[in-house]
């Protein structure tokens, strides 16, 4: 409908009831020209104005190209400092295209800086435009899927790495034991890292590494960790299984696809280039849609005969294709054949009774047939069904006088086309994005991960008892059944046992165990900084809070990818001249920093440092003092053969009762002498 009109009611004309008033209003509205100035007049550039007018005349209800030009001009004006002029231009740009959100976002920024609350409205409308159009939906969906998949793989891989780092001592212990018992060089402590280095050198891809880590880690990780790993794995498996279907998104965003070509009729006015592009579609599955698009284009160009032929072919191919009937009706309308036009529109409402466009066009047809009552009903029906939404979605329709509205491809129809085109799974764009990193087909990832989990479960159930590794009660380091000592009533590792070997005093043993415990704790807290704090979320995982660690990791990964991809992996070709807003980059960087701060603030729980570790009932039996020997009696007359009664050098001598008795005996002997 035209813009707001002013009714001029002669005083002599007295409406006979409400019915007559309505008829009069409808007539005036149908035939009166708007009295307000045309917004196109606000375009400063004459060339742009004529281009825009030409586009409108060629049926472009979304003036994206002129809107972008006006938006660019507005941003230059804003940079020059003239905020009000820029604001006017942005409003114009917003009115020229119903699916171009950038002017509204810019208006929101201006209003926010100026302290106006209108920024909320502009922001909401901007987001609404972002998701309303098929192009916006397709880009958003594709980017969401790519981001979610990338983040999932990142989180899974990094989580497995840090879980491996956390549980590495359990593996390293056995490797060292087995290797160290046989070979002396290279040192046993290097064998584990060398194994990992070898795997990394092979560069087998994230997929295989992740699967391998799942198999290796499953026997040692706890339930919560298993649940967390399984959650991410299930999501990735779902993406993998659905990847053939997700290729629908490829069709929706591939600029050369049938879907995108057909969608162009919603965005652009008719021109030969577009007609040629659509005409070159030779996929027989989309013959009806192709004919519809060609018919619509030619109708906009005034080639009604050819348009009629195409549209008839389309409806013959697809009997339920409502938009084709609508545009066919429009062709007849423009040719003056209102009966056929009405038939076409009636077909539309018989297929889709909620088509506001059809009811509006019916109303207009009835007006031309002077059937005002029917027209009134139809127009009322159109209003009830929301014809205003069409105007809001296509604000350019307000810039030109239109009797009837034609129909492009609805977003749902375009999604169906995309599904049919890409849903067979033959294409591999998603696979192509992730293959260089995974080195494994995305569609088979579910099989690899399922096999890894299964292998891990089997391995966990069949680990030999001798391979079981547990932790020293004192220092917390790993030990196993081969090297652990339980004589003290607690499990002590080899080093703790060696520290107290040969001692008899519980107090000394406690002191030595405490010292070792504190020393190990100090070394562990110092040396773990790098692996705990280098990646956001890593410290949480290392300290056992796997869910919060994975969450932080996911958020940081999202922000990182946003920075790397300058917002999204797939940018909008129609917004290519504008770089990603600085605020977006700053926000992403701030998120990463906040995640990292949350990571470095993580601390191990403070454990009690000084406590008794040995059981209370632990006592060391008195050692048999067999090194002292029984002092021998001396024969003062025979000095050569007497054995030395003095203790051996470097032998621990203790003064026992026997020593004292021997000394007393000797004294008595000397006294006798």
């Amino acid at each position: 409908m035209a813009g707001p009109v002013k009714l001029l009611m002669p005083k002599r004309l007295k409406p006979t009831g409400l019915y007559g008033v309505l008829i009069a209003i409808l007539v005036v509205v149908a035939f009166c020209k708007p009295l307000f100035a045309n917004p196109l007049d606000e375009i400063d550039n004459d060339l742009l104005r004529s281009y825009t007018t030409a586009e409108l005349q060629h049926g472009a209800w979304s003036l994206q190209v002129p809107a972008r030009a006006v938006y660019r001009d507005a941003m230059e004006t804003l940079e020059a400092g003239d905020t009000e002029a820029a604001r006017r231009k942005l409003m114009l740009a917003a009115r020229m295209s119903g699916d171009y959100p950038d002017p509204l976002f810019a208006l929101a920024r201006i209003d926010l800086r100026a302290g106006r609350t209108d920024f909320i409205i502009h922001l909401i409308e901007g987001f609404d435009r972002e998701v309303r159009s098929f192009n916006g939906q397709a880009l958003l969906a594709a980017n969401l899927v790519i981001m979610a998949t990338a983040v999932s793989f990142t989180v899974l891989f990094l989580t497995l790495i840090f879980l491996l780092a956390r549980h590495w001592p359990e593996y390293d212990h056995k490797i060292r034991e087995i290797y160290g018992g046989r070979f002396a060089f290279p040192p046993a402590r290097f064998i584990g890292p060398l194994l990992i280095l070898g795997l990394l050198i092979a560069r087998a891809g994230i997929a295989l590494y992740s699967a391998l880590m799942i198999v290796v880690l499953w026997p040692v990780i706890g339930r919560r960790e298993k649940a967390a790993i399984l959650t991410v794995t299930i999501f990735i498996c779902a993406v993998s299984v659905l990847s053939p279907r997700l290729e629908t998104l490829t069709a929706a965003v591939d600029e050369g696809s049938v879907t995108r070509r057909l969608a162009m009729i919603n965005d652009s006015g008719a021109d030969s280039r577009l007609i040629k592009s659509i005409g070159s579609i030779d996929d027989q599955r989309f013959r009806a849609e192709r004919d519809f698009a060609l018919g619509t284009m030619k109708s906009r160009m005034g080639l009604y005969e050819e348009a009629r032929d195409h549209l008839l072919a389309s409806v013959q191919e697809r009997g339920d294709f409502a938009p084709a009937y609508l545009n066919l009706g429009n062709v007849y309308f423009r040719q003056g054949d209102f009966n056929r036009a009405l038939a076409g529109y009636q077909n539309v409402v018989s297929i889709d009774s909620t088509s506001a466009l059809a009811w509006f066009n019916i109303g207009q047809t009835y007006i031309n047939k002077m059937l005002f009552a029917e027209s009134s009903d139809a127009l009322e029906k159109a209003r009830e069904l929301g014809i205003e939404r069409y105007n809001e979605a296509n604000p350019a329709t307000a810039l030109i006088e239109l009797d009837i509205y034609d129909c492009g491809f609805p977003a749902t129809e375009l999604w169906r086309i995309a599904y049919r085109e890409g849903g067979s799974g033959k294409s591999g764009i998603l696979d192509g994005i992730f293959r260089p990193w995974l080195l494994f087909p995305l569609r088979w990832m579910w099989l690899l991960l399922a096999a890894a989990v299964t292998a891990g479960v089997i391995l966990a159930k069949n680990v030999p008892g001798s391979w079981e590794v547990f932790f020293c009660t004192n220092c917390g380091l790993t030990t196993c059944s081969d090297c652990a000592d339980t004589d003290t009533g607690i499990t002590l590792c080899h080093n703790c046992t060696a520290a107290i070997s040969g001692l008899s005093s519980t107090k000394v043993m406690e002191a030595l165990l405490r010292h070792r415990r504190q020393k190990v704790r100090s070394i562990r807290s110092r040396g773990g900084w790098l692996k705990m704090k280098v990646v956001p979320g890593s410290s949480k995982i290392m300290l056992g809070s796997i869910w919060s660690g994975m969450f932080i990791m996911a958020v940081a990964a999202c922000a990182s990818f946003t920075l790397i991809w300058n917002g999204a992996y797939l940018g909008d070709p129609r917004g290519a001249g504008s770089a990603a807003p600085l605020l977006q980059r700053i926000a992403a960087a701030v998120v990463i920093v906040l995640c990292w701060l949350a990571t470095i603030r993580s601390r191990r729980k403070r454990e009690q440092v000084n406590y008794r570790i040995l059981p209370q009932d632990f006592r060391v039996s008195e050692p048999e003092d067999d090194r002292l020997g029984t002092p021998q009696s001396l024969d003062l007359e025979d000095t050569s053969s007497a054995s030395r009664a003095a203790p051996e050098p470097a032998v621990r001598r203790r003064f026992t009762d026997e020593d004292v008795k021997a000394q007393d005996a000797f004294k008595e002997y000397l006294e006798k002498l």
């Binding site: 550039n45 190209v65 972008r68 660019r72 070979f183 002396a184 060089f185 290279p186 060398l194 070898g198 050198i201 092979a202 087998a204 891809g205 290729e247 490829t250 965003v253 591939d254 600029e255 050369g256 696809s257 070509r261 070159s280 579609i281 030779d282 996929d283 085109e421 294409s427 591999g428 764009i429 696979d431 293959r435 260089p436 080195l439 494994f440 040969g502 001692l503 107090k507 000394v508 002191a511 010292h515 070792r516 070709p573 001249g577 770089a579 001396l634 003062l636 007359e637 000095t639 007497a642 030395r644 003095a646 050098p649 470097a650 621990r652 001598r653 203790r654 000394q663 000397l670 002498l673």
Partner: protein, 380 residues
């Protein structure tokens, strides 16, 4: 203010007496041939063990020197001391090396010897720091009166040269003699111990290191035994060099097994590298097209038949072309003609410079039509 000065000006014995008379508590630090510390509590000497980190522990030396504890045993005790943070005396008592009484005796003898040594330094510098706080953590077993200690020390200082005259060298070998028949000999405790140890010929240095008593006491015992004709100095007899069996530390068995595992590790790493270079790309190549899995191969070139991009490169190429096309359209809308070159789009900021450079890298060629009202954009 601490009491300090040079022993040449004011003798150490006078300092000792001063501290004793004043019943002071504190630490007397003496620097001469070495650094020693003597702790006083209420005028009594309670310890000569300096607890400072770099100071040597005279008790350890005493125990080692006179054979109370062997060297290996002492190393073990030192390790226990370092790890546990306990004092040596605590460990000795806890591990029942000595009883309280025995340790007290040893401690006392050690103090005597230390003070004797300090008093015999020709030059020394002293500094006395008063206060009971310096005694915190100092283990004590006995408190000696300064007068008695000084008297004993002086006695030892006076008598030891005579003993050294009799026994000038530690390499001298002595042996015991049986008691003359008919004589009743009474031996002191130290003399008994030394006599017991002389069942064979022994050098004096060996005797001192195994006697478990201070050097002076050993020498005194030898002198007394000599006087009692129970000892004989073996002359012109080379001391039997006691073979000190040193423990030979065996090297860790490096039984020739270094080479095999090293080579195995190196070969494994090399194999992994070549696997990553050749095997992995062959089995799991990046950019592996869908044709490998599909029985319905698609044409790889999308030529306007509305086909989906076969791979990511073509997909990106199409998006690049669309980006440039949109920029060209926008330029046309504003200028009424298409640009002569693509760089104009970058200059006017219709597209980014990065886009233009990617276009050139992709081999896309732009040509403006003759009238400027059309253009061609094609891949060459």
């Amino acid at each position: 203010m601490a009491l300090e000065g040079n022993a040449k000006d004011f003798g150490l014995s006078e300092i000792f007496q001063l501290i004793s008379i004043q019943k002071k508590s504190g630490m007397l630090s003496v620097s001469g041939d070495e650094n020693m510390a003597i702790f006083f509590q209420d005028g009594l000497i309670v310890s000569t063990r300096d607890r400072r980190a770099r100071a040597r522990d005279p008790l350890k030396d005493y125990l080692l020197r006179y054979g109370f504890i062997g060297r290996d045993e002492m190393n073990n005790l030192q390790q226990i001391q370092a790890r546990s943070g306990m004092d040596l005396t605590d460990i000795l008592l806890q591990e029942k090396y000595f009883s309280d009484e025995e340790l007290s005796t040893i401690f006392t003898e050690q103090m005597y010897e230390t003070v004797q040594e300090v008093l015999s330094w020709p030059k020394s510098y002293y500094k006395f720091v008063t206060g009971s706080n310096v005694l915190v953590g100092v283990p004590t077993f006995n408190a000696l009166k300064v007068e008695g200690l000084l008297m004993e020390s002086m006695r030892r200082i006076d008598e030891f040269p005579e003993m050294r005259r009799i026994f000038p060298s530690g390499e001298m070998v002595v042996r015991r003699l049986p008691a003359p028949p008919g004589s009743s000999v009474r031996l002191e405790k130290n003399e008994e111990i030394v006599y017991n140890m002389l069942s064979e010929e022994t050098s004096i240095s060996d005797l001192v290191s195994h006697s478990r008593m201070a050097r002076f006491n050993t020498y005194e015992a030898l002198k007394n035994l000599l006087e009692k004709e129970l000892l004989e100095i073996t002359k012109d007899t080379s001391p039997v060099a006691e073979e000190v069996e040193e423990e030979v530390l065996e090297k860790k068995a490096q039984s020739g097994r270094k080479l095999a595992p090293t080579l195995a590790v190196v070969f494994t790493l090399i194999a992994c590298f070549f696997a990553g270079e050749y095997a992995v790309p062959a089995i799991l190549p990046p950019g592996w097209t869908a044709e490998a899995f599909s029985s319905d191969p698609r044409p790889s070139v999308s030529s306007g038949g509305g086909m989906l991009s076969a791979d990511l490169d073509e997909f990106r190429l199409r998006r690049l072309e669309a980006t440039v096309s949109e920029g060209l359209e926008e330029y046309f809308a504003v200028k009424g003609t298409y640009p002569f070159t693509l760089e104009v789009l970058a200059v006017r900021k219709f597209v980014t410079r990065d886009t233009i450079s990617r276009v050139h890298q992709a081999g896309i060629v732009y040509r403006m039509g003759e009238s400027g009202q059309d253009y061609s954009l094609a891949l060459e």
